[in-house]
């Protein structure tokens, strides 16, 4: 009882108020996890990074709230319906979804410790992410050229902040992806590198989830008939 009890603080499902007596009614589910001792490092790493991702998502929710509030504040300029090109958004969405899928394939290849498939699927992930980023930058520069830059109205400021912040995350993710490929190449499938890759894949999938919210609420909701 003692060794398993002290060490389960993170991975356990029933940690509170456990005296010598309180232990008796905790059978079944919690018994199986707490008796197993501390959670594996992989679970703890994933949990910690998940907490970071959720805080990131909460930051994005602030930007979403700003955008929703300032949606109509166009300062006499163009609104969402005149500015957004749904075809471009559809291609961006396809790129990011396929990139997320390729990242999933990469995590399967890492579990298999297959070097070639790992590097190949990471390369595909990165290329699709870069294509997404290129399309987004093209859209941004097109908007600025048409005089609809972030300084024109509160609506455009909030739009560029929200979508640009997602784009900045994608850029950071691409840099991280490059370093992951280099680490797999140079150091192989060591455990700590697999943990880093776990964090990267969580990050990349979470960015796709944020993009779902962006294309639905910003683009589709703005251009609907």
């Amino acid at each position: 009882m003692s060794a398993a009890d002290v060490s389960h603080a993170i991975g356990d499902s029933a940690p509170l108020g456990r005296g010598p007596e309180g232990h008796s009614h905790l059978d079944g589910d919690s018994q199986s996890t707490s008796a197993a001792g501390p959670a594996p490092r992989r679970i703890i790493v994933g949990y910690g990074f998940w907490i970071f991702l959720l805080s990131d998502i909460i930051m994005f929710s602030g930007f979403f709230a700003t955008y929703a509030v300032l949606n109509g504040a166009t300062n006499g300029g163009p609104g969402p319906a005149q500015l957004f090109d749904t075809t471009n958004v559809a291609i961006e969405t396809a790129c990011l979804l396929a990139s997320s899928f390729a990242c999933g394939m990469a995590s399967l290849a890492v579990a298999e410790r297959n070097r070639m498939w790992t590097q190949l699927s990471l390369l595909v992930t990165g290329l699709l992410g870069a294509a997404f980023l290129g399309l987004e930058l093209k859209e941004f520069s097109g908007l600025v050229e048409r005089g609809a830059g972030p300084t024109h109205s509160a609506f455009l400021s909030s739009f560029f902040t929200l979508v640009g912040c997602h784009g900045a995350h994608i850029t950071a993710g691409l840099l991280w992806l490059g370093t992951m490929m280099a680490q797999f190449y140079a150091k192989g499938f060591r455990e700590n590198i697999q943990h880093r890759f776990l964090c990267f894949s969580l990050f990349w999938h979470a960015l796709d989830i944020i993009w779902i919210a962006i294309f639905s609420l910003v683009y589709l909701n703005g251009t609907r008939v």
Binding site: T33, Y47, L54, A68, S107, R113, F189, L217, L220, R224
Partner: protein, 126 residues
């Protein structure tokens, strides 16, 4: 879910060809469902078949469904015992995000309704 779950069992434990095939199939199912949801929401934004004010509701519902699919099939959030903490953290994150978004909208709509228009404020100052 499958043994190569992102949040699941340790890496390289017993990754056999069989479990990889299962993993690929799970990702393919997730991809297929996500594509369906995406197409449906792009269609809903263009169509005239849905009652107008219902369109944004349809878009939001499809977006939430697609997020759920991504969480289950790509991020491997499950109900397994070693995933309880992740689910709880997710629930808390959703709570805070909803408070931020709907709270802001509520407060700003209320201010918008109750405050004088700017021109009137300027006129009163002169």
């Amino acid at each position: 879910m499958s043994s190569e779950a992102e949040f699941g069992t340790p890496p390289g434990g017993n990754a056999s060809g069989h479990s990889t095939r299962r993993g690929v199939r799970a990702y393919l199912i997730g991809l297929g469902l996500a594509i369906l949801m995406t197409i449906a929401s792009f269609w809903a934004a263009q169509t005239h078949l849905i009652y107008g004010p219902g369109i944004s509701v349809a878009i939001v519902v499809l977006a939430i469904a697609q997020m759920g699919i991504h969480l289950v099939f790509f991020l491997h959030i499950t109900t397994a015992p070693d995933n309880t903490n992740n689910v709880l953290a997710l629930a808390f994150g959703i709570l805070i995000a909803c408070l931020v978004i709907f709270g802001s909208l509520w407060i700003m709509a209320n201010l918008n309704r109750n405050m004088l228009p700017m021109e009137q404020v300027m006129r009163m100052q002169n």
